[in-house]
Symmetry: C2
Subunit: 229 residues, 2 copies
């Protein structure tokens, strides 16, 4: 059965469900892959389904009518994707990398929420986590310099991609899930400024970059010293 080996079964919202409930939900669930760049949900579109992110990274964006864009959130496995209790989305969700998702029809999720306070609790906790993250980024967007923004971003990715890093390890290596353009949209900068700041970090030997995507941080504390605190 679908859920047996699923990551969301553990850390994700499905962990809230008992075997019977899980069986019910699994019946209407549909697992699928989407290539990088695929739009998963459009602004002003009716919300017809929710999904768990099983692998890859999803970016949530808002766009002004003249084309200026801002990424307002990134979702990693096993995050739950979608905004309950709202008929229409007011943002775009797009696959930032190739992703694999487990989608549920809107109706079954909402029925399940009504039936399981435990599930609602999980969703509430994720909303609180996303709110905490959004507020941290407001500080980054409003008050940090370009160099501090880039350092903050790299540290955030390092922590999300390889949870091992965070605490004790001194070094980290990971692939950037975003292009330079995406990083710019996330940090409220231009592509050129992102590139220049990465170049500077490289020149100062705080990081090394291979093939434009793979980042090596030999000493996380040196990167932390640059994020602004």
């Amino acid at each position: 059965m679908l859920c047996a080996s699923c990551e969301a079964r553990h850390g994700g919202v499905c962990a809230a469900l008992d075997p019977d409930q899980l069986a019910v939900l699994a019946r209407s669930a549909r697992k699928y892959e989407a290539g990088s760049g695929t739009e998963l949900m459009g602004d002003a579109e009716r919300i017809e389904s929710y999904a768990n992110v099983l692998s890859g990274v999803v970016k949530l964006t808002k766009t002004l009518s003249d084309g200026r864009q801002q990424i307002v959130g990134l979702q990693f496995a096993p995050d739950f994707l979608g905004r309950p209790f709202k008929a229409e989305s007011d943002l775009n969700a797009e696959a930032a990398t190739d992703v694999s998702l487990c989608a549920f029809p809107r109706a079954s999720v909402e029925r399940m929420i009504r039936a399981s306070p435990e599930l609602e609790r999980r969703l509430y906790l994720q909303a609180l986590k996303e709110l905490d993250e959004a507020r941290d980024w407001m500080v980054t967007l409003g008050r940090k310099t370009a160099g501090e923004k880039i350092a903050s971003f790299l540290l955030m990715i390092a922590r999300s991609i390889e949870p091992a890093a965070g605490t004790d390890r001194m070094s980290a290596r990971f692939d950037l899930p975003l292009t330079r353009a995406d990083i710019a949209d996330f940090l409220g900068l231009t592509i050129e400024t992102v590139s220049r700041q990465l170049t500077r970090l490289r020149a100062d030997k705080v990081i090394a970059i291979e093939n434009n995507r793979h980042v090596i941080v030999p000493d996380l504390s040196r990167l932390e010293a640059r994020q602004g605190r």
Copy 2:
């Protein structure tokens, strides 16, 4: 009894409770006033109580160690103040104006949440609302010009202070609940830039200002045209 004439009894979280539950909670509730500038909750402080905002405005701030500050949220009546399920606050809450609050000890709120899924649902909805707001502000912080930020801010205040305005009415007048310094901390600008942009809006007759605090908007659509869309 306390709750009979309370505003939070209607729009706020207390509306989720039945009369018995309300009576229980009221027993440990304490209503009080705090003057503008009072710190209501400190960063890295243990969370000992929650509160409903009954009147006035509370600002939520984050501060970098070198003093740079960012306001990450504003709370108006009848918002619920506090972050459930977390031992320690990671932000400051301060009265931006004189406020009146109805405070509950941490333990009674958490007991009540466990007892009332309806209350938890309300809190979840408020978290989702705050998340939506935070994401809108991320666009403002990351991608709008100083002039657009100020217009967005004035419109947000107009809508929160006098809910009547929002829809059909063409004009609005209200007192700014924040000083120029607070507005700057909210928008990621300096005091001087805030002042200059307000002066420009005044020069262009989009707004009028009396006594530094009272704002008159004769035609909301002209202000909307300046907020960036």
